[in-house]
Every structure is written in structure tokens, then in C-alpha cells.
Amino acid sequence: MMETIQSFMTAMMNSVSEIFASADLTRPTWSKWIFMALAGVILLGSVLTVTSRRILRAATFLFFTLLATAGLYLLLEYEFLAAVQLTVYAGGILVVIVFSILLTSHISYRFDPPPVWRVLGGLVAAGSGLLLTICVLVLTVFPKGVAAPAPDMQQVGNALLGQDVHGYVLPFEVISILLLACMIGAIVVARKSREPEASQPDKTE
């Protein structure tokens, strides 16, 4: 038992030092600096999103997190994805969220801090999950791919309408139905409608 733990710890240490060696932090480059900055924003933004006691601030922090994620995509040379992230996430989803906040909450309202047992529960669940995931990730040696240029718009377009292997016309079509169905669903739920007459039987029980 002890030996297993010991060998596990050694393996972990070795992997961690290897990763840091490959990062070669002694020779800072622009990309490293940018990554550090983005990572910092993302982590801080995420933590603040889930802990801020004012809901609109939480939304703002979420916005910064999403922006920084778009920055990561840019860093990885996926400009198209970054643009989508900005327009759909930051531009679309977040705007909907902010609207609904304005619709339902008072701006100056401060949440009560969450109960201690719930925080503990969150820490236990998320912490153990994070620990496990990081252990597994650290111990895994991923294959090194050969660097290839990022896709340009033409490639993206061709692939989106491609019918063969690595063509995405089918998901593209299906997702359009998905969007349609969700739209209808959202409308039918959110649309205001009169309650029927009180003579209807109460069906809750």
C-alpha cells in the first residue's frame, strides 16, 4: 500500500518536473507572457463569477472570462473560433443573461453568502474532481503533433459543407433543426398567456 502511494508520488513529481522543463520558463517569450496573462484573467474571472455577491458583477466577470478565452483561441491562431466566441458567447449568450438579470433582479441586491455546508460540499466535490483530473492529466504523456497551419476561412467553409470524412454538412443541418426546436421551445415557455378559467381542475395533486 505504502509502496504504491510512494511510487505514485514519484511518478507525479517526475511528470510535473518534466512538464515544467518542457515549458522552459527561464526563456520567456511573448506567447508565454500572453498565456500567463490570459490564464490569470480566466482563473480570476471564473472564481469571481461564482463568488461575487452582486449578480451583475458576476455577469461582468463572466464576460471577461469569455473574452480571455477568445484571447486563448487567438493565441492558438484560431481566429474564426475566436470571432464566434466573441459574437455568440459574449455577444449573444451574455446579453441574454444580462437582460434576464435586469428583468428579474434588483441591481443593488447583494446575495447572502452561501451556507457553510454548501461551500464545503462544493469544495469537496469540485476539489476532489479537480485533483483527480489533474493527477490523470499530469501522468499522461500526450503525443506531439506536427505543427500545421490553422485553417483558413475557405477550408472551414468547405469542411462545413463537406459530405465525406471530416465533412460536417450533416451536423450542420441537424444543428439548424436543434436551433429551430429550441427557439420554439423557448418561445412557448416564455410567451405570456392568459390563465384558463378557474373552473379547470387543479392538477397539481
Binding site: 482563473l43 462544493g122 483530473t133 471530416h166
Partner: protein, 103 residues
């Protein structure tokens, strides 16, 4: 790219589980939704990073992230609709007020 892939992965893992943490401790349904957005976003980073670093020949991760964003948008819209519907009924968006059915 000279940042090791593990850094990206750990960043996304951290973001993901911060989202989980947020979901568990929050009460307001909209903040729950924001926590979910964090989780989905973290996953997208994973896809993109794997695609870029490990398997750059095809753009499977790239497209997956693309579609995942679209689906996240759809999911959010329906969720918001339902939350607003709840709000209309009980004038509250506290998730703890919406826990009538249990045991």
C-alpha cells in the same frame, strides 16, 4: 507554440471545476446558468487545445468547439425562458425556492 499542452489542460480543468463549485454553492438560477457556461467554455478550450497541439491534421476539435458554442447558446436560451417563466409565477429566481418536489 512553446507553452506545454498540460498548462492549457490544467487551466481548463480548473475552470471546469470552478464552474462545478459555483453551481453547487450558488442559489440564484441565473448564476447557476453562468456556472454552467464556465464549464462549457472550459470544455471548448480542451477541444481546441487538443486539436492544435496534438492532432492538427484535421480540425475535429475545432469544429466540435464551434458546434458546442452553438448548442450552448440554444441551451441557454431555453433555460432563460424557463427561468423567466418561474419568475413570473413566484417572483423569485432563487433555486432554493423552486424545490417543492422532493423525497
Amino acid at each position: 507554440m512553446d507553452v506545454p499542452v498540460h498548462f492549457f489542460l490544467m487551466l481548463s480543468a480548473a475552470m471546469f471545476f470552478i464552474g462545478v463549485f459555483g453551481f453547487i454553492i450558488r442559489r440564484n438560477m441565473i448564476t447557476l446558468l453562468m456556472a454552467v457556461e464556465l464549464m462549457l467554455n472550459a470544455v471548448n478550450i480542451n477541444f481546441v487545445v487538443f486539436n492544435r497541439f496534438l492532432y492538427p491534421d484535421y480540425f475535429e476539435g475545432f469544429f466540435f468547439a464551434l458546434f458546442a458554442i452553438a448548442i450552448a447558446a440554444a441551451e441557454t436560451s431555453v433555460a432563460i425562458a424557463i427561468i423567466i417563466n418561474v419568475y413570473r409565477k413566484i417572483r423569485s429566481i432563487e433555486a432554493d425556492d423552486v424545490a417543492e418536489m422532493k423525497h
